[in-house]
């Protein structure tokens, strides 16, 4: 029995990635990392800043996302996000740029608790990448 399902990552500008032979995907859902295998129950959740890991026959791929929504239905995983980067294309400069931005934002005193939580997450993830 095949253990593969389909993933599609779209951002507002284009369809970012589409794969048919995915065996497992780990997404940074809002309440913690979530692994998705074939025949997972239909689920909708949103993402916090983190790494999407995609396991397929052709290997493992990692993507950094800042926000987004995941929907899994009938063995179709859709990820809608407005900010996604392939880790491979991520250079040090870009990371430190995002990091400085995030750190500045977190110092803002008017920040809401939820945003604070998200931005702290972002800083953590970026630091591990750096």
């Amino acid at each position: 029995m095949s253990e593969e399902f389909k993933i599609e990552i779209v951002n507002p500008e284009k369809s970012f990635l589409s794969k048919e032979d995915v065996t497992e995907v780990v997404v940074p859902a809002f309440e913690g990392e979530m692994g998705i295998l074939k025949d997972h129950i239909s689920i909708i959740s949103f993402l916090k800043p983190g790494i999407i890991k995609i396991f397929s026959k052709s290997g493992e791929e990692h993507y950094y996302v800042e926000d987004g929504i995941v929907e899994f239905k009938n063995n179709n995983l859709s990820v809608l996000t407005s900010s996604i980067f392939n880790i491979k294309d991520f250079d040090k400069d870009k990371i430190s740029e995002l990091l400085t931005q995030a750190e500045e934002y977190s110092k803002n005193s008017e920040i809401t608790d939820q945003n604070k939580y998200l931005v702290d997450q972002k800083i953590d993830v970026l630091k591990t990448l750096n």
Binding site: P12, S42, E71
Partner: protein, 291 residues
């Protein structure tokens, strides 16, 4: 009748105008292809977003406590209209069509005694509306600096709308833009985005039971503001494709008209040249005869 010299000058000037319109048509055609591609690439995102929202909102049992972006404020006193137009002219009826549609809506609103607020995106819309609706325009935005339509711009507009909504500045929000059908047809659209009309959202609702993490309300309240930006982005993409399409066909007919004009002027030029020659000949012959 114009002298030969005048005709010659006119022909030259029409020809140079024709060159310009022809070049603009070429540029528009190239831009159109890119804009059309972008519009098509952007579609899956907004479609998926719509589907998810549809699935979510159909699952909400407690309509009273639904997020205000979905259910509305319960009143319909202040209408906010976002009019999306282009920043450049010379694109045929593109801007006029949007404005016409918007003005009809504005009239309806003011006849019903409701308050009107306008945000114009793109400078041409502001130019056309400022004469009559200057007092209603609360904000004018222009993305002249960005070469292509990008999501960040749309997000800026979206965030501004949400902020105003949370301050209870308006009850209903409608956007006006041109939907791209094909190169010669663009259809002006009016689309209400707040409160969201779920029955207008296309797509098939399913009875699937979703698992939500965290709960439905939280996802929905996170998703709806995003949807506003997405809808605006979609409108901007459609608009930019329409603008180029409209410009292309406008410039195409301008080029053709210039060609016709050149033909007409050339015939006139040749006729008067011949008439002048005939006149001279008659003069010479009658001069010779009298000798």
């Amino acid at each position: 009748m114009a002298t030969l010299d005048d005709l010659k000058k006119r022909i030259a000037s029409v020809k140079s105008t024709q060159k310009i319109t022809k070049a603009m048509k070429m540029v528009a055609a190239a831009k159109l292809r890119r804009a059309q591609e972008n519009a098509e690439k952007g579609r899956p995102y907004s479609e998926k977003m719509n589907n998810i929202i549809l699935n979510l909102s159909s699952g909400i049992s407690d309509k009273e406590n639904a997020p205000k972006l979905l259910s509305g404020t319960g009143e319909e006193k202040v209408h906010l209209c976002i009019v999306l137009t282009s920043d450049r002219g010379l694109c045929g009826g593109f801007n006029t069509n949007i404005i016409k549609k918007a003005k009809a809506y504005f009239k309806k609103i003011s006849n019903e005694g409701k308050t009107l607020k306008i945000i114009t995106v793109g400078s041409k819309g502001y130019d056309q509306l400022k004469r009559v609706y200057k007092d209603s325009i609360v904000e004018r935005i222009s993305f002249k600096d960005s070469k292509t339509v990008n999501y960040l711009d749309a997000e800026k507009v979206g965030k501004m709308i949400i902020e105003n909504f949370e301050k209870k500045e308006f009850d209903v929000c409608t956007i006006f833009y041109n939907k791209f059908k094909n190169v010669i047809t663009q259809i002006p659209q009016e689309q209400q985005i707040i409160p969201l009309k779920t029955h207008e959202v296309e797509g098939n609702s399913s009875d699937d039971n979703y698992e939500f993490e965290p709960d439905e309300d939280e996802i929905l309240s996170n998703l709806l503001p995003k949807n506003i930006s997405t809808q605006i982005f979609k409108a901007m993409l459609e608009n930019s494709a329409s603008e180029q399409g409209s410009r292309m066909s406008a410039m195409d007919s301008a080029t053709r008209n210039a060609g016709e004009m050149v033909d007409k002027l050339t015939i006139e030029y040749n006729r008067s040249r011949q008439a002048a020659i005939t006149k001279e000949l008659i003069e010479i012959i009658s001069g010779a005869e009298s000798l």
